[in-house]
Subunit: 158 residues, 2 copies
DNA sequence: TATTGTTATACTCTATAACTATA
DNA sequence: TATAGTTATAGAGTATAACAATA
């Protein structure tokens, strides 16, 4: 455990360098499946069909950004986008069978990479890090106003 | 603590969304001091004078990227860049007095933001998160060059 | 020949604003 | 009028490759 008189400063420093970790993980992604695309697939796979605004909230980005990433996945046949029968303004996204397969493949590669690189980590630490990051995102993220407070409690709703 | 059968999957998902946290923190940064600039100042403030290659390594980016960010800080008088007397190819960077002041101001803003938003976090959790992120970066970053060939052999059909 | 650093180029990701369509 | 979504544009951040200077 790092010993520092200012844990906030240390946290800020580590957050600044976490981008290198994301890029390293993305190296093993399938072609045309960038990190943002993988996030779309992962969220649709875990939470099921949802609207654009909900997806943008979960991604922590503006809806215009989520829209672009979804179009990318729709163009490649990984996501199906249909009008919401209950609201003519909204659209509903869900994974296609092709998208399910790509998600499974991507998940397998990431899990293998993490399992190999973090082979000396106790599984408890892996889960603890994921949990702390989830809480950090909720407590610091802009989207907390729109998110269901229950997301604070459970990070694995499905 | 999140309970999940696959903590690696959960960690991958949280890493994908950590960008929103970084952007939220950056909102309170001084003008012309983007996250990458703040990282340069923080590293030079913590580790003192260093060469470009060392800074790039600590930032987890290519040296060409570090070079651009340093030029940005030099142009604004926050960093002094001089030839290395021991190696004509290298250059040494260190904070100027102006850079020290900007670093102190940025650090103060980040610490205030974190302290305010994470006021219900035990300090132990803040330090633990920073520590886990540091270990993640070490164990995941730059490791491909040091891979044991036997790992590749085991996953490659003969 | 190898290493250190810079610059040119292209790509990913993002937010803002303007726009369409519907509630 | 307000909301859901799309598109155009601009900006930050990054890697690769080509380059110059030095070891």
């Amino acid at each position: 455990m790092a010993q520092t008189e200012d844990p906030y400063r240390e946290l800020a420093r580590q957050l600044g360098s976490v981008g290198a970790v994301r890029r390293e993980l993305a190296r093993s992604f399938p072609h045309d499946c960038q990190p943002a695309t993988a996030i779309v697939l992962m969220l649709l796979g875990r939470r099921g069909e949802m609207r654009m605004s909900e997806l943008a909230d979960l991604m922590g980005v503006d809806m215009s950004v989520a829209s672009r990433h979804v179009t990318h996945t729709v163009d490649r046949g990984w996501v199906d986008r249909r009008p919401d029968p209950l609201d003519g303004r909204a659209r509903l996204m869900r994974l296609t069978e092709s998208g399910e397969r790509l998600l499974a493949e991507t998940h397998e590669r990431v899990a293998q990479t993490l399992a190999r690189r973090l082979d000396d980590w106790p599984l408890e630490d892996v889960a603890r890090l994921a949990d702390l990051l989830a809480r950090l995102r909720v407590d610091l993220g802009e989207c907390e106003r729109h998110l269901d407070p229950r997301h604070l409690r459970s990070t694995t709703p499905l």
